[in-house]
Symmetry: C2
Subunit: 276 residues, 2 copies
Amino acid sequence: MNIGIIGLGLMGGSLGLALKKLSNKYNIIGFDHNPTHTNDAFRLNLVDRISTDFNEIKKSDIIILTIPVDAIISVSQNLLNIPKDCTVIDFGSSKEKISNGIPKKIRKNFVTAHPMTGTEKFGPSAAIEGLYTEKTMVICDIEKSADYQKGIALGLFKDIHAKIVFMDAKEHDRHAAFISHMPHAVAYALAQSVMKQEDPKSILALAGGGFKSMSRIAKSSPNMWEDIFRQNKENLLESIDAFNTEMLLCKKLLEEENWEELHQWMAEANKLHDIL
Amino acid sequence: MNIGIIGLGLMGGSLGLALKKLSNKYNIIGFDHNPTHTNDAFRLNLVDRISTDFNEIKKSDIIILTIPVDAIISVSQNLLNIPKDCTVIDFGSSKEKISNGIPKKIRKNFVTAHPMTGTEKFGPSAAIEGLYTEKTMVICDIEKSADYQKGIALGLFKDIHAKIVFMDAKEHDRHAAFISHMPHAVAYALAQSVMKQEDPKSILALAGGGFKSMSRIAKSSPNMWEDIFRQNKENLLESIDAFNTEMLLCKKLLEEENWEELHQWMAEANKLHDIL
């Protein structure tokens, strides 16, 4: 099967690596508007070959869109004349605007998914083979995809050993705001709050594992996250409000020296790990 | 040399493990008010033997206080009659109240330090051998320690391969608020904000690496952190204000759909990693 991967960064590159492990089931063609990315992807052996011809990619059996979420919507406008048996899969981190933004004519061709995996790194050199192994793949609004495309996508996700969860795009976006998008805002804010101090270098000289793991995703690409924040603005604002409410409660308890309630607040937070 | 470790949790237990690696330089005696901890510490081979006699511990050449920060101050009141050549080292996470709270009579016996390492786990079973290896050990107000005690402490820290940084206790507490104490408040708030949603289990089913690494320290012990928050209240409040200001800026830019400035804000946060 020919598979065209549009976007050869962390997500697309890692998918190429994972699929190349399967002996010749897929013939992987890479496409990226950035020539450095295509060169790197080929050199790093993430794809079988590179194409610079978008029309050739359109003839693939499967097209993967591993590009920023706004680009997913705009590229979908250029796929209007794909054949009926072409399967398009996107990996966008916000889903409702994508699910509703794909042209009606080819909506059944699409399977819109969100792999709950990643790192703070980006570009082809960030690709890692096991990125999707045993990780959750959320498939949204599956009733809008044709059965044929659903089968192709599920087969591909099985091949990369992802764990499937089906979800309404609207519900996904609310959940993703809490579990991923708001935490990115928090990491950026944490980094900013330290960087704006008088002597950030002296402060950061003391950084241990806790700070490092909390600020890791503050390294994430603004290009990617600006689009996600835009597409999931309302849910993100709701989750930021929920988070800020907790920070203000913590501040209030500190100011009041209400140690008993502060202790209780921490103990309740501990319970997260009974679930997670 | 006899070394008495008071407090056999993650920090004390890991110190015991690291020192046991050095062939017989130290004879390690463990002490803990919790009998389950002493049993576990002995069974896990973290110490050479256990003592239940505080007076015996007081006769050690070196006494280590790896207990919550309030307990460090109260236990120091019971060490008034230690010999002149006894060295007491505490590993508290806040330092100014400890440095000023040790009885004057034995202040020269003390070396007050803060190892910038740890995990979210606690108790003797959390102990790991390499916890201090190549990690920063901040020594505060060293001019208040006698030269003899300074030499003993530096020798011990060299033995466990820690990297030494000297710092004023006041400066340490401000830095630690930003790098460690406020991030703990943020992690607790993040956990709380998700736990208070309608269906936290469905949300957490989607958690990827980013959320997991950001909420990890929300598992930390309320017993320990209540004390730290109390001792470093003023600096913690200042750092929480700095952080909340960034969260409110992020919210404002989102509400105004000021994508350009939001992008810039993220890009500036990225710069943290040029330093860290």
